[in-house]
Amino acid sequence: MSALLVLAAGPGVTVQDRGRPGWLAQGLSRGGAADVLALAEGAALLGQTEDCAAVEMAMSGGTFEAEGDLIIALTGASMAATLDGVPLAWNATHRLGQGQRLVIGGAKAGVYGYLHVAGGIATAPVMGSRSAHLTAGLGAAVGSGDRLPVGEAGPTRPGLGIAVADRFSGGTVGVVPSAQTGLFSAAERDRFAAATFTRDARGNRQGVRLVHDGAPFAATEGQLSIVSEIIVPGDIQMTGDGTPYVLLPECQTMGGYPRIGTVVPQDLPVVAQAAPGTRLRFRFVTREEALADLHRQGRGAARFGGAIRPLLRDPGDIADLLAYQLIGGVTAGADLDGEDGA
């Protein structure tokens, strides 16, 4: 079995898949990739199921070596990547030949970058998932010396790129009302929707803290006397001092802080990918609007169909593979062998 050898890894590198749903009643949150869209993009680029596990890298990557010939994909927060010293395009697939060394540096924008391998990372599943859930004590961070086995790859190819919309620099995200939205007055909800927040330095896979210039946000019925209730990822909870936290996939499953609303799932990657200092705003939308938006975006591999194209390389600029552009109209049968930077 081929493998990815880890020679060095940043502090926030873990194996993640779509998580471990079904244990909410036992207190275990789903976990899984912080940016599920990036996970899906990598699967689409490699032509494999979204159930494949990948390496998630928070803020910085690591140094990896191929054991066997691998095809990889890089998605999510764009990071400086080189293969044996040659720069690699992000949001693209590449060949990583036996013994070749992949170095992934710090995030240029966003937080979570993903290193996918054709065949998927094939570590042993625990309770139905390969995702590390460090808060729950499941799995461990990826570290120097680890050998990550790789599953059997299907047909796939290097030299493909995917065009992605920017979700790495904040912006306005949709929020639907939730069971506790009514605990906040209309005036307080309006003030929340009008505020511009900055993603605080405090944040991780459990949730991110948001700061703003105005007064804290308070529930009408009192911040500290609410019965603990089930939490879903995307919930925006107001802690005791009225500071909002947006909860992410590795959040606690139950909490007693009131929640003003829930970020819609299709916009949650924008929150997860907001690096410290990034600005975020919230817009209340109806359930119907959010569902229509969700259906418009679609799901599964079909939604990426038109976005995946062969990478175009300027033959006179071979060293600078970051200059690759995506072009239209190139047939999938175009011979791009050897254009993967290998």
């Binding site: 009643a25 207190g27 625990v126 729950a136 069971a179 603990s228 819609v264 359930r287």
Partner: protein
């Protein structure tokens, strides 16, 4: 906190209450506060929903006084689920149901006070008790697992007598060990992993509430009863060595 048995009456028209949670969830609330009958209603109603086996419900969970249902927003007709839920709610008086079947009584050896429960005296004082009286009260009768949540396998157990309606501390203890017994707001928790907490640390068990490598990762279930059995500090290490998962805890079926 009001008396647990009278806080919410079934005739309170506001409950049960249905609300959406995000795009993927529905919440059926039986009370707006901790309440024994609402808790029993939630546990029973969740079992009933599970027994219905509705294909569009992907997951359910009961919390202290409510039931959460998760579904797929792409495929699901929310109104249809709500109609079925209302019919199920109307089918009986959920506040009047008994406790679930298949419950167990656990006896969990526990070291109280000293380095294993450094806040015992402080918690006891808030309840108007000496440390010795506190241990006697906390071990005199079983408490019930009201819900499991926050962290994997973390049981909220209660309801303790009214004098134990003591607040969480304002500050947070940065780290208490796995197996620690903590107390606040008429409830006890045994932490499955080392954690920061605002609850007061009164004792130590060798009980692991989350065993990811085991066939049954979560030993406790909502409705189980738990009796804490006081032991001497020097006994704990032996109990843990003999059984690293249970730390001497034993369970028997409740008939």
């Amino acid at each position: 906190m009001p008396d647990a048995e009278t806080a919410i009456r079934p005739e309170d028209a506001a409950y049960p209450r249905l609300a959406t949670m995000g795009l993927t969830g529905l919440l059926v609330s039986f009370a707006g506060r901790l309440d024994e009958r609402a808790n029993r209603a939630a546990v029973a109603f969740r079992s009933a929903v599970e027994a219905e086996g509705w294909a569009d419900v992907e997951e359910t969970a009961a919390s202290l006084a409510s039931v959460f249902l998760r579904f797929d927003p792409f495929e699901t007709d929310l109104a249809a689920i709500e109609t079925r839920l209302r019919a199920l709610l109307d089918s009986r008086d959920w506040y009047a149901v008994g406790l679930p079947t298949g419950r167990r009584l656990w006896r969990i050896p526990t070291v109280f006070g000293g380095e294993y429960g450094p806040q015992l005296a402080e918690a006891a004082a808030l309840a108007g008790r000496t440390s010795e009286e506190a241990v006697a009260e906390l071990t005199a009768a079983p408490v019930r697992v009201l819900t499991i949540g926050f962290a994997p396998g973390l049981p909220y157990m209660g309801t303790l007598p009214a004098q134990w309606d003591i607040p969480r501390q304002t500050g947070v203890t940065p780290r208490i060990p796995a197996g620690a017994l903590v107390i606040a707001v008429r409830q006890l928790i045994v932490f499955p992993t080392a954690t920061p907490t605002g609850w007061r640390h009164v004792g130590q068990t060798g009980f692991r509430g989350f065993r990811p490598e085991a066939a049954e990762p979560f030993p406790l279930r909502s409705g189980d009863e738990v009796r804490f059995v006081p032991i001497a500090a020097e006994e704990l290490a032996d109990l843990r060595a003999a059984n690293p998962d249970n730390g001497g805890a034993v369970a028997e079926p409740i008939p």
